[in-house]
């Protein structure tokens, strides 16, 4: 029996780097004890991380699959697991299992399209994997626009990577915004949904949104007034999860299990689900 693989039994991961992103978000680099990537994944997929006796929680794999050396997780401090991780140091072992969920259709529906990424706060974490995948295979995609906002400049996750790598790429426009004006910020000020409307994009784009539910809701409304269809918009959902494989019942909405039928959904598919998220 011990030779049948059991998805609930995790592997060991080692934290090899901790980056402080914002006052409440840290990004952790994780490899196996022999220095390899724990498993392959696709953009948008997640992993269950745990610390024995503390708990287990689901996180988006924020690094791109094209990174063959390690995985990264951007984790916002909430409570038990995340708080514990925030005080962890380099060299700390954790457990890891996955990959779980369906990815963004980067090789199918997204191919050849102009892409518009819209993110709020920690919502950049799952999109960063997609963005870096698309940057890696740049010629497979059209123009890329990224609208990203947070409460303040200090709350922008991956700020360094954004300003040193993303903005310097050809054919990528990055539009940053923060909620309130502050000293040392000469960029846009205002909420993400309004900024998207102000920027007023062509309606030929495929849109990928992630952020707080309220931001997603208003951005979607904005996109609809710009003339977008729900079939052009993808998002990733967050519900409470335990097993990650459609068995514990925790993330069930309608006839879908977000852990295995999601977390990535096209907005018209989301429409068909009962309003319980």
């Amino acid at each position: 029996m011990a030779n049948i693989e059991e998805t609930l039994i995790p592997k060991i991961g080692v934290i090899t780097d901790v980056r402080i992103d914002t006052p409440d978000v840290k990004t952790f680099r994780v490899v196996t004890p022999d220095g390899k990537k724990a498993f392959d994944h696709k953009p948008g997929q997640c992993a269950m991380l745990s610390i024995p006796a503390v708990g287990e929680a689901m996180f988006s794999i924020t690094s791109s699959p094209t990174n063959t050396e390690f995985m990264e997780f951007s984790i916002k401090k909430c409570d038990c697991v995340t708080e514990w991780l925030h005080q962890a140091e380099v060299g700390q072992q954790i457990t890891i299992r996955g990959p779980y969920g369906n990815p963004f259709p980067v090789d199918d529906e997204f191919a050849g399209k102009d892409l518009l990424f819209v993110a709020g706060g920690i919502g950049l974490a799952p999109l960063r994997s997609v963005i870096n995948y698309c940057r890696h295979y740049r010629d497979r995609y059209g123009k890329i626009d990224i609208v990203y906002g947070s409460r303040s400049k200090a709350d922008l996750v991956d700020y360094n990577e954004i300003i040193t790598e993303w903005v310097t790429d050809d054919g990528i426009d990055v539009h940053l915004t923060i909620d309130n004006a502050e000293e040392g910020w000469d960029g846009h000020v205002g909420f993400v949904p309004n900024y998207v409307k102000e920027l007023g994009f062509d309606t030929n784009k495929t849109v990928i949104i992630c952020g707080p539910p309220i931001m997603i809701k208003f951005t979607l409304e904005g996109l609809m007034t710009l003339g977008y269809e729900k079939t052009q918009v993808y998002t990733t959902m967050e519900l409470r999860m335990k097993c990650g494989v459609g068995k514990c019942g925790r993330c069930n909405i309608g006839d879908k299990y977000v852990c295995k039928d999601g977390p990535v959904f096209r907005c018209d598919q989301l429409e068909e689900l009962p309003d319980e998220y």
């Binding site: 011990a2 059991e6 006796a53 140091e89 925790r250 006839d255």
Partner: protein, 339 residues
């Protein structure tokens, strides 16, 4: 078909117990319960057990693995062990069907190895009902109480017990009983079945139909106004989910033993307020949403993913046990009525 005299049942149990663990329903002060058979234990004549037999495959709590933590280092210990062969004798038709419903959750890819191992090592001997009661409605879901499934089906008449093998596992079990049983025709069984089916037709829930529910019916029922009054007095106690043979939600938790950490799973309930609680809120804020989830899952969502099969077998346990007498029958009768 094979048969033996009713008083030879003790010998049948003894023979089975020679080569595997044997569990039978027996009467206790709490009602009928499955117990490990030992010499002299009598099989209960109660219609059904208080707890469902899902415990055999999906126990209320179950250790999954162990961890040793040493400074920054963690060791994962796979504590899974091959289960012993076991026979569950005397499972009613409704409960036998519940195993298929659980199989479709736990055995689909990625297969749950804990559940699968128990399933592999089990042999189910069902027993036909002869005295169904007013809380029974297995027939609503196409289950025939007089012809239970399982590896072996069994019928008890006044003086005899009949056995029919349905699977290779069942044949192997009957082969062991060859010295105790003799060949039989199905005359008495057929007569008993006819009588039981006559009783079934006269039960108060005989006309209950699930036809309006099923795959793809989310829109029809999700926003039905009746959920408000139906859920109004629900205490969120979770009793209905625990006694239900097909409810399968679970939680995963860690327990620090002082020498290591055991990760275990235990039954959970969608009726509990913290089931879906998250950092940024709870998508099922009131008992109404939780209550609706349980019944929509059984009558619509599960069928949508499982070729129309409902996730209720009409065992009636929730009818008997809910402290406020709410249950799936009331839901089925009431929801969508105003349309």
């Amino acid at each position: 078909m094979r048969k033996c005299k009713t008083d030879a049942l003790d010998a049948v149990f003894a023979e089975i117990a020679k080569s595997s663990l044997l569990y039978i329903p027996t009467d206790t002060e709490k009602g009928a319960e499955y117990k490990k058979w030992s010499d002299g234990m009598k099989m209960s004549n109660a219609l059904n057990t208080v707890r469902s037999p899902k415990d055999f495959f999906f126990p209320q709590t179950e250790d999954l693995m162990e961890f040793k933590v040493n400074g920054k280092e963690i060791e994962v210990i796979d504590t899974r062990s091959e289960k012993e062969d076991f026979v569950v004798f005397g499972v009613r038709a409704c409960d036998v069907k519940s195993f298929e419903i659980l199989d479709r959750v736990f055995l689909i890819d990625p297969c749950d190895s804990y559940y699968a191992n128990r399933r592999e090592h089990s042999t189910i001997v069902s027993v036909a009902c002869t005295r169904p009661v007013e809380t029974c409605f297995c027939q609503t879901f196409g289950i025939d109480a007089a012809a239970p499934e399982g590896d072996v089906s069994c019928w008890k008449t006044d003086s005899e017990v009949y056995f029919k093998a349905n699977t290779p596992k069942g044949e192997a079990l009957l082969a062991k009983l060859e010295g105790i049983t003799v060949d039989a025709d199905d005359k008495d069984v057929t007569a008993q079945q006819e009588k039981t089916r006559e009783i079934m037709k006269k039960l108060p829930l005989a006309e209950l139909s699930a036809d309006k529910f099923g795959a793809g019916k989310t829109e029809e029922f999700f926003n039905a106004p009746e959920w408000d009054e139906l859920s109004e007095s629900c205490l969120g106690c979770g009793t209905c989910t625990f006694v239900c043979p097909t409810c399968q939600c679970y939680d995963i938790k860690d327990y620090n033993t002082g020498h290591g950490v055991i990760r275990f799973r235990c039954w959970d309930s969608c009726m509990y307020s913290d089931f879906t609680k998250m950092a940024h809120g709870n998508p099922r804020l009131t008992q109404k949403e939780r209550f609706r989830q349980r019944f929509m899952h059984k009558l619509v969502y599960y069928p949508s993913n499982n070729d129309g099969l409902f996730s209720c077998v009409g065992c009636g346990r929730c009818l008997a046990k809910c402290p406020i007498s709410m249950n799936i029958v009331k839901v089925m009768k009431t929801i969508g009525k105003s349309e």
